[in-house]
């Protein structure tokens, strides 16, 4: 009894292992093809999406190419897809549009030169605000010495406490 019980699972596991070792490479191979095909296409699509979201739609008011349903935006999307599929890098595609339209076509200005002000100024402003806050708070802290003369009439305080206690009842 015991021997039988012990042997059966071993047999089964051996069988599955043999079947598995023969099948795995094939499965992996097929899976690789199935997965890789749409992957390469979708990565181009992702790049198209990324680039179009950074480019201004020339015929719109403050819209990116990605957000615009206009014909011009469609044509730009097609052109970007075509250039990427031809092996051009996303940077080269963007550079092409800058070359033709100027930096205006980029929704976010390049982080260089005068443009850096846009990134730096908010933080400078925050810093200045924080410093002003520190100075003001320090000044307030220094002032209480003048208010130390403020005394409370013990009788008055007593009455407030009494009335509070009455209220709670």
């Amino acid at each position: 009894m015991n021997g039988k019980l012990r042997r059966r699972p071993v047999e089964r596991s051996e069988r599955t292992r043999v079947r598995g070792s023969r099948g795995t490479p094939l499965v992996v191979f097929v899976l690789a093809i199935v997965v890789a095909l749409p992957l390469s296409a979708s990565s181009v699509e992702q790049q198209v999406q990324q680039i179009t979201s950074e480019l201004r739609c020339p015929v719109c008011q403050g819209l990116s190419v990605a957000d615009s349903p206009s014909q011009m935006a469609n044509q730009m999307r097609d052109l970007i897809r075509e250039r990427l599929s031809a092996g051009e890098s996303p940077e080269a595609v963007k550079a092409y549009f800058v070359e033709r339209y100027g930096e205006w076509i980029l929704l976010a200005p390049k982080r260089e030169g005068f443009n850096l002000l846009v990134w730096v100024l908010p933080f400078l402003g925050l810093g200045a605000g924080a410093m002003a806050l520190v100075i003001v708070v320090r000044r307030w802290k220094r002032q209480p010495t003048a208010d130390a003369s403020l005394t409370i009439d013990p009788a008055h305080l007593d009455r407030v406490r009494r009335e509070l206690a009455e209220d709670q009842r």
Binding site: P58, V59, M72, Q75, L79, E99, R100, Y101
Partner: protein, 190 residues
Amino acid sequence: MTLTWKKLLVPLSVLPVLFLLAYGFRTDPRQVPSPLIEKEAPPFALTLFDGEHLSLEKLRGKVVVVNFWASWCVPACYEEAPVLEAAWRAYRDSDVVIVGVNVQDTEEAAREFMRRFEFSFPNGPDPRGKISIDYGVYGIPETFILDKEGRIAYKHIGAVTAETLSEHINRLLGEAPRMEDRRKGHERKT
């Protein structure tokens, strides 16, 4: 000391904002400077509405006016269409070619437009928008005037006028020593 600081603080914060606004409101957001000025014009080939083929490269040595238009572009394209046709008739015997590029349009509407204004200069569609994107076109109409070496000498946004066209064409024709003959010669001297 603190008083002078406080007095300075208001103008210090307000003035830059005012300057920024003054600068921003004075610039026309539709007038985007083209980076293509003085650069070589992007080459293109057109299949014209009459079935002929036109290649920009073959027009080297001529002053070329490239006009981007559409039948739905009202009223600017309708204003400039007679001007373009008149310029073509006036200059076609000189070394000047006017090329119309029809963008984002239907063939039927484009042909109707051309019939209406009796276009006789070469016109062709840009069905995939490649030429207009190559030229950095963002509004219609836009007109590019190319010198004889194929560089973009001038870009006009909006309806082009007869004065602007003739001014630039004459200037570019005058640059070439070969065009000193006939009427252009004494026209320029006046």
